[in-house]
Amino acid sequence: MDTTAADILTRDVPRRGRRRPPLLLTLSASLVGAALLLPVLYLLIRTLDAGVDSLADILLRGRIAAIIIRTFVLVAIVSTASGALALALGWLIERTDLPGRRVWSVLTVLPLVIPSYIVAFLLISVFSPRGLLQRIAAEPLGIQEIPSLYGLPGAAIVLTLVSYPYPLLTVRAALRGSGRALEDASRTLGKGAWSTFFRVTLPQMRPALASGSLLVALYTISDFGGVSLLRYETFTWAIYVQYTSYVDRTAAAALALVLVGLAIFLFSIETTVQRRQQRDEIHRAELGGVESAPMPLGRWKYPAVALCSLTMLIALVIPMAVLLYWLVRGIGAGEELSAVWGPAANSALVSALAALTATIVALPVVVLAVRYPGRFSTVIDRSSHIGFALPGLVTALALVFFGARLVPILYQTHVMLVFAYIVLFLPLAIGPLRVSLLQVNPGMEEAGRTLGRRSLEVFRTITAPLLRPGILAGSALVFLSAMKELPATLLLSPLNFSSLATDVWAASSEAFFARAALPALLLVCVSAIPMIFLIGRMRHTQT
């Protein structure tokens, strides 16, 4: 099935409300949306416990306004930095003859799997004013004190390093799904590489960047581990203090509702970008399109490799080197290390189930949102993002509340745990999928229906194969995020369950560093295997 640029450009986007969505689609999407609103329902129940006076007291107390501003500053920096890094890396990997593309392709997504508190702790131990770097490198050179990592710079660096894979995979799925016809045309018409990138490629990437950056922004407002160690007080930090210091569920819930408000504000920014995109959308997914040769980088190859190497050095190599150092030092000191294969298998199993289920569940939400845009589909799409924006602990407690009361038979089972991962991570499956579906020309689907195929069959034979980059990218993101997830895994897993993430936490929280190193290293290694599979398949879609 081949489409030419001329066909694509003359297509119209379906107007709002032109067709009614099939009942099955509406029903399944509504079900998903309702399930994912459970955390908000819980927060409302908890908040209503408090009287108006004490609510006012909680919300006006202390430095809430200042903390909101600090949170937004961090969100703005991290989203921008992640987006830029993701665009650069994604374009280099997908479109150029970057040396070692296949290796970078897998390595660059792995920083996502290291929990932010571990990255923060490791980078502090290396880069803090009196850290490893200072002792082994700076002092001999006569540098008294390297600049402090604490506060905004450190928090921004660490969160960028653990969250840029969200937009990276979204952007790569978009680059995969969009043919190079327009880019080639632009080159043929005599435009240079830069001009083509900025005038053709970049505008095409806007929905992917918007989707990916929204994920980064939501992740940033929900992170606790990284910001607390780097001493940058965000809104989620304030929510955690309500739990850790007061076990005050009412205050925590009231503040978390404010966080939901912040998330809705972030949605509105993304919606604006997406809507502008949809207005002048050009659908360009191709099946079996002609593979044109990757763009030669020439002399630019060196800075390109340097960028990839530097990112990997800070996000992956240094953390893993410190972990290895802990491990070797611990073995030398006679630390007892226990087998971690059981937890590794547990982690891989539940994460794989979460990735698979989230991808399936994401489909109706995305199809409804993209093919039948309207207020209803927007509400469902947005509500599915709330769980990801809330601190993991809040979402976990919400599911404890409903699980123990409504479905005691499922409470503390694998089913409950996978459900929790879906509530937390569904947007990660939705983001890349949405980008892929936006690229699929609805004309092709209509053609299928005109030829007498039923909707579901059209979806299976035409739409689904075109969505493959998005499906693979989305499941990779969910898998990696579930691998490192902590609060829901601790609270909702079956009794006696342990995963790599819980093992890392159990050891590192009590300063058993050697014991923490082994599962942490394994977390990266075990995750690399499905990444080779998922991302390898993403690479092969055009051949």
């Binding site: 107390r61 903390i67 955690y240 850790t244 030092r329 189930l353 404890v400 609270l491 159990a506 058993f512």
Partner: protein
């Protein structure tokens, strides 16, 4: 690919079914009318433990309990505050029999859901390590200390008690974890010992010295060792983990303040039995075991804590309790956490 998806959904369902099967737990015996004795007779060998203490610290001693008694333990680990919140959210449906907590604050948060412990269990530890109305009991002790960087300071440079750190010469040199429960318990002790006004003065004095804020004890001790701060206000036992990992070159040590006061108070980790527990008898046996010489010796030698019962050897690395000038203070006196938190909020230390 579609067929692959369908196949995988099938697998998912099978596993879901297995997951349900694999959990014969409390909800499968929903017979509220049965007397506790009958319930425990039906499931003689089971105990559900919610542990706010890390598996790396208490996993081995829970295992020892299982082996000694033949009772099968099923454990949920988390931080003490997370577990406390979980128990509160589960409410009457909580599968937990026992809450093993890192600090009295966590136990106090769920106190209304704990049952009273038998007097003979409570009385194995000194009265001041029991909860006021017998709903939980201390299982191991920890001393509040000042951890100091050995490159910059010697013990002689430290003041007699915490008041000395409000001196401007300590500006920029102090680290503390104000969100930590033990830290807050220390402030509560301070209010008891020094009174409200002096505690407020002290907090303001330290604030004026621009202390570095850490989320927990572990990073505070790490920072003292790295020389990021000169002194930190922490619990004593984290240091020994660092010495174990990094060796004697780790550049921080503990100081027990010679003048005593709140900076040298002894706190406890403890446990309580949930009121609606299915396995009350086993839960009581668990607490008895944790107060037995075997388990107390485990805490002393493996987690570097202070044993609370007579006749157990303190780890040779630790300063014996009778050499610490710790104030006589009841855990019961540390109940007013709310007042401490108000004070910490008032002084702008907590949000």
């Amino acid at each position: 690919m579609f067929r692959l998806l369908i196949g995988l959904i099938g697998v998912l369902i099978l596993i879901a079914a297995a997951g349900c099967q694999g959990r014969p737990a409390p909800t499968d015996t929903p017979d509220p009318a049965a007397a506790p004795g009958v319930a425990s007779a039906r499931e003689p060998s089971s105990l559900v433990i919610y542990s706010g203490r890390s598996e790396s610290l208490v996993g081995p001693v829970i295992e020892q309990f299982s082996q000694a008694t033949g009772i099968e333990t099923r454990v949920k680990y988390g931080s003490t505050s997370e577990i406390a919140a979980t128990i509160l959210e589960e409410g009457a449906n909580s599968p937990a029999d026992i809450f093993f907590a890192q600090d009295p604050g966590g136990l106090a948060a769920v106190e209304s859901m704990l049952g009273r412990l038998p007097a003979d269990v409570l009385n194995r530890v000194p009265a001041h390590f029991q909860s006021p109305d017998g709903r939980w009991v201390g299982l191991s002790g920890r001393a509040r200390v000042v951890v100091y960087n050995t490159d910059r300071l010697s013990p002689a440079d430290l003041p007699d008690d915490l008041r000395g750190f409000t001196d401007p010469k300590w500006r920029g040199r102090i680290g503390w974890p104000p969100t930590n429960a033990s830290f807050q318990a220390m402030v509560t002790a301070m209010r008891v010992l020094w009174g409200e006004d002096e505690t407020r003065e002290w907090l303001e004095g330290i604030q004026a010295n621009a202390p570095t804020v850490y989320p927990k004890n572990t990073p505070t001790v790490a920072a003292a060792g790295a020389g990021e701060i000169d002194v930190g206000f922490v619990n004593h036992y984290y240091l020994y983990r660092f010495l174990q990992e990094e060796g004697e070159t780790f550049a921080a040590r503990n100081a027990h303040l010679s003048g005593g006061g709140p900076g040298a108070v002894i706190l406890v980790a403890g446990a309580g039995v949930l009121d609606g527990a299915q396995n009350t008898e086993n839960a009581t046996r668990f607490i008895e075991f944790m107060l037995s010489p075997v388990a107390q010796q485990y805490f002393a030698s493996q987690t570097y804590e202070y044993p609370l019962v007579e006749g157990v050897q303190v780890n040779r690395l630790l300063t014996p309790l009778d050499e610490i000038n710790s104030p006589q203070i009841d855990m019961a006196d540390l109940g007013d956490l709310e007042g401490t938190l108000d004070l910490l909020r008032d002084t702008g230390i907590l949000p």
